[in-house]
Symmetry: C2
């Protein structure tokens, strides 16, 4: 009895040389995971504990079907965020001004202190929000964090969103800004970064830049990218209702993306860039968290880049749900995440 | 109604500049995660799908309390594994012979083909098994994979385990072998690697080597290290009953570790190396999977190394439970994982 029990244990732990515990070809049965209580981790900062302990996003299953509905809600939210931006700019010693680049709306974010070695360099920021949220100034917060903590000039793209325009308008706008920046700045002195839909747009921009034969930037930082919007990716399921931001693969973010896609095939690499060809991509740093619904879709991009021979660095933060490393510049983990991105850009830009 | 719903959504998604969805200081409530069905991921190799689809280790809650019980079971399991080794050696073109180094039992694993640039280099392998399992030849399988796929000479340490000896005997034995290797090989030409308890022992060996003022190796590869045996680490809970190998923080592996610790404080960095000082550690590559019970305890080591200014590379494989990247040399993900480790050693050894 004791040994047969151990035999089972050992087989499961070492199935490759044992086999009896392996699933049969014909029965790749799903895992039934019982209900459980997951404590707030003690090995993160007190500030991050509060974010982690927040209840599930109570409106995770808002499933609007039109660009007009999304925009109305996005405007309400944007007005709230906009109010917080002056204090944020002051705290991080960054100034902001709006302009257009070849017709595309942008915000230029300039830190008070730009060290000499950063003065010929430009970062392009692509905000997140499921291709529907954070229009205007409200989309600049991550850009302000990067400018303030990293001491780089940042151009944050206020790309068109529904109902103003649909796929591939957001991508077109980011590419337009990138091309405009290349007129005055060597591509090796440019980095492109962003989180969530912004992370996906960073990757999509590289795919399009390759198609168009453009020089690629010196580095990119796609954070927890929406790299696969077909609901493929194991953490969509393992972290369902563990991630308190996105909560579920069947929630608001998928619904918003479907509205942006406007009938286009969701598996197109320009919507699900994990299916694109990543050879010759620039050095890439990726950031996610262990509770992130998009943990899998971050690590899949990392593996795909590595398989393509690209220098790619993966950062996974303990206990964090989707994009929580960039919600508050005052949290230690935020400083750490943007410290890593800064170090990566410092290393790779300019050569 | 619509806007208040969206307000909640936006707050949760952007709590840092909103605040209303944040947990109160006094109530860091745990997350109640409902029961769910997690499908086998489609974005891994068919061979890996079979490992992922295997049912939970049916003996995960074996909780023996003595070294004698563990060893009796380990011997039964070892006899099974030993039978598979000749075919594995043949398949990977590796020869094995047993010897002792300053009294410590080792297996020397020599690939038929060692390229010129590897001939002055040595890898030290530290096997896993919760400090209790895989005595003798049965502990060499990961070493054989590394020797065969990486084309390096590997010395696999058959360290003492209960009831032969208890903490810190395993660590003493690895350190003895390391010191013995240093007599003939420059430390910069040595790497130390291993998985699970082996990964922890790699880290513990670095802490001890620093204490003793030894030169450190050129690189290390602790795979999914048991870096915290105090049940701290968020994925102990988020991946409970998702990981089909270890299954639970309250399962066999913790019980086995307690027997090895033999009353010693589990938070001692020589048992929970995440609490050690990692400054001046050599370049480190870490490997884990998204379903790994020790995902958190791998990424925590990664972050701690990065905070200490150490070059550290993290690899996270889609859908894999604990240590599944090293159970079968014929699986594509295994080749990829050891390909990464080989590339890392190639880059860092020798200088």
């Amino acid at each position: 009895m004791r040994f047969s029990k151990f035999f089972l244990l050992a087989c499961a732990a070492f199935a490759g040389v044992c086999g009896t515990a392996l699933a049969d070809d014909s029965t790749l049965a799903p895992r039934q995971v019982p209900a459980k209580t997951v404590p707030v981790p003690t090995d993160v900062s007190p500030e991050m504990q509060k974010l982690i302990a927040a209840p599930l996003n109570p409106a995770w299953n808002v499933l609007w079907k039109t660009g007009e509905e999304w925009r109305a809600a996005a405007n309400v939210r944007a007005a709230q965020v906009d109010k917080t931006i002056p204090a944020m700019l002051e705290r991080l010693h960054v100034t902001m001004h709006a302009e257009t680049m070849n017709g595309v709306r942008v915000f230029v974010l300039t830190p008070d202190d730009i060290p000499p070695e950063h003065r010929d360099k430009v970062l392009i920021h692509v905000h997140g929000g499921c291709y529907e949220l954070y229009p205007g100034e409200s989309g600049t917060t991550e850009g302000i964090i990067m400018a303030g903590l990293g001491h780089y000039k940042v151009i944050s793209v206020d790309y068109r969103m529904p109902p103003e325009a649909y796929f591939p308008a957001a991508l077109d706008d980011v590419l337009t800004v990138y091309k405009d920046v290349l007129k005055t700045t060597d591509s090796k002195n440019v980095a492109v970064f962003g989180t969530s839909a912004g992370g996906a747009l960073v990757l999509e921009t590289m795919l399009r830049a390759k198609q168009e034969g453009l020089r690629l930037p010196g580095a990119i930082a796609p954070g927890t990218p929406m790299s696969d919007v077909t609901k493929t990716g194991d953490s969509f399921y393992t972290n369902e209702k563990v991630d308190n931001v996105l909560v579920s693969p069947n929630g608001f973010c998928h619904a918003a993306t479907v509205v942006y896609a406007h009938g286009h095939d969701l598996k197109d690499p320009l919507l699900s860039p994990v299916y694109g060809d990543m050879h010759d991509f620039p050095p890439t740093i990726l950031t996610t968290g262990t509770r992130d619904l998009l943990l899998s879709n971050t690590v899949r991009v990392h593996r795909k880049l590595r398989e393509a021979g690209v220098e790619a660095q993966l950062e996974v933060f303990e206990g964090l749900s989707h994009a929580q490393y960039q919600v508050d510049d005052r949290i230690p983990e935020t400083k750490e995440a943007f410290g890593e991105i800064t170090e990566f850009f410092d290393k790779h830009l300019g050569h």
